[in-house]
Symmetry: C2
Subunit: 358 residues, 2 copies
DNA sequence: CACTTTCGTTGGATCGATTCAAATTTTGCT
DNA sequence: AGCAAAATTTGAATCGATCCAACGAAAGTG
């Protein structure tokens, strides 16, 4: 009996059991999709035939073509698939997206790929009703690919300044400015910035000229916000070290080494993500530098890990749950209109920031 | 131009652009799937027509039916979708599953649902080549549904004792026994068990009779392992409190309240998951009970969070990454054979366990 | 120039279902 | 029984592509 699956390789089709049961395929179809309209006797006969022939129910592949709707939304990123489960920000976002999907009964397809070649193919052949695009890095290419499918789609993080792209994001300038103002208000004047990517792949210290040419709008906006506030209180921003990280532990630590090798190390670190900030806390602790007494650290994102870190992290909280909900809504209720939503952020003061010593 | 998407509601088909370009649909298809075999001039003409008519490339819905393979695997659970992103064990497992998928170019579809009704439908209509089933709770129903699809599938956690079900899991009895032996070896004799679900939904103290009738094999096996070892050193297992949790903070804390209300509270806690163990550490710390001096705690799973907890958690590590890899392999290289794999576990001793006081 | 290759193109068959107007059978009522 | 209304069933059309055998045209060969 094990050979049922192994041996005969021709899968059973609805038409097969229709013939076996002596009914038309129309009726056979009804037995599965609207059982109440077929006569009891016939229904049982068809079901028995299905059972006997090892029929696994109507194949969704066929139904799909007819129905048109997949009832699933795709979430795409240029990072490896495991990004969805590893990155704290992505996780919170995904949790809220999945809640919204659960509520409406929609499924989720994760779309990603090891290389660019694959990515294009995966996006082109994804069985989804729309895309939510995580624009972390390489966002523009991803957005381009998603657009070509001509399906509803929404970019998370207004990384693309292209007004023709539907997007949901936060006010990065205002948020960054808020973070900086919190620190300047505490009396800090010596800063360093641990930045997200300015352009594909590179890491390291960024010159003021490079800053202006940043490819990624999110990174550029946050930096603008920081500098706006620092300038306001008279800090010479051209002397504030800005280190570009890949939002991972390795490049962040490299950045910290560089920054703290300076003669006058900063008393406050502006980190463009909580992930960077959390690595920073760890690094400082290993270096026996006390947070917040020796160095204050302010993150960006508002992930749950920031609550339980040692010390708990002051950060700019994004309304992640709200963003996820809105993104799903935008896909499912897409009306073809392109809308861009800018959500407000909030400063959450915790124990990682305090007035500088002295 | 925005009305392109909004206005005309009839989507463009391959046949439409074929006609527009004055070629057969066969040639039009070739332009997209094997561009190298069509003459340059014709290819450009067809592409131009596609561009002009706003064609988003061959619709995967159509291609799918012909091709037969979706090139995606479904991961199913009876928990809400957000379980995949919230639960530490699930996260690590998903990360390894997604790595394996990335390597082979397969996509991932998350399948779940708010209610049972939906779940059945979602499984029946999931567009996947096979299922990996997370058998945490309600596994049997899930497995049943997945089997009915007659697609390759693998159960994670040998929750079902049904030999006809392909499954990948760990040796729960051996693992639990290992955990208990570690504690008995340190000299502990007063224990309490914080268990996973025995049957759907219930929580609370479990009587020895109930223990034997546990629906979930994983829970039962771990308990068997614990008790095997405890009996060996002469502990009366019928007097060891076993509290059934829902693998969440609330029920775990309730269990701890109950357990520590006893006249002679335990000196060691056997937790059936790291999640439970981590909540326990937190609760004990809030109660000003020192771990490991007042109470030792041993978990089960080996999630990354157990490394950084305060104190770091002694636990039974499952080869989660290996399990994920094997599961994906089992689906993609399914040969119709039903295989059950039992992987070894490993005791990882950290700071949450020590000899009892005195 | 007739004859084989090679290259590109065509159009019908197929994938597996759902849908719906029309045909047929049942049922209800007098 | 006779007839209209209601309940079922049928079968062709459709969803959007890919595949492939057959065919026509251009290129190569003796």
């Amino acid at each position: 009996m094990a050979s049922l699956t192994a041996g005969n390789r021709r899968p059973v089709r609805l038409a097969d059991i229709a013939k076996a049961a002596g009914v038309s395929h129309g009726t056979a179809s009804n037995v599965f999709s609207r059982p109440e309209i077929v006569r009891d006797e016939v229904r049982e006969r068809v079901k028995a035939a299905a059972e006997a022939m090892g029929y696994g129910g109507p194949d969704p592949k066929g139904r799909l073509l007819r129905a048109g709707k997949v009832n699933a939304i795709g979430v795409a990123t240029a990072e490896p698939l495991s990004y969805f489960f590893d990155d704290p920000f992505a996780r919170v976002m995904m949790a809220s997206i999945s809640q919204a999907c659960d509520a409406t009964g929609a499924g989720i397809s994760l779309v990603s790929a090891a290389n660019n070649e694959q990515l294009a193919w995966n996006i082109q052949s994804a069985l989804v009703d729309g895309f939510i695009v995580f624009c972390i890095e390489g966002g523009s290419r991803l957005v381009e690919l998603a657009r070509e499918r001509k399906l509803p789609f929404v970019a998370l993080d207004l990384d693309s300044q292209d007004g023709a792209v539907a997007a949901i994001g936060v006010d990065n300038v205002a948020g960054a400015s808020l973070a900086a103002r919190h620190l300047t208000g505490l009396g800090h004047r010596r800063f360093a910035v641990l930045a997200l990517s300015f352009a594909d792949g590179s890491t390291g210290l960024v010159s003021p000229e490079q800053v202006r040419t940043a490819t990624y709008a999110g990174t550029r906006d946050r930096l603008t916000g920081y500098f706006q506030e620092l300038s306001r209180v008279g800090v010479d921003t051209s002397r504030v070290p800005v280190y570009e990280t890949a939002n991972d532990a390795a490049s962040t630590k490299a950045g910290l080494e560089t920054i703290f090798a300076a003669k006058e190390p900063p008393t406050a670190i502006l980190a463009m993500s909580d992930k960077i900030a959390l690595v920073t806390l760890e690094w400082l602790s290993a270096r026996k530098l006390n947070v917040p007494n020796d160095v204050s650290v302010v993150g960006f994102d508002g992930v749950p890990e920031a609550i339980v870190s040692e010390p708990p992290l002051t950060t700019i909280a994004q309304p992640i749950a709200e963003m996820g909900r809105l993104a799903v809504k935008a896909i499912l209720e897409s009306d073809g209109k392109v809308s861009r939503q800018l959500l407000p952020v909030e400063l959450i003061v915790r124990a990682s920031s305090a007035a500088p010593r002295g």
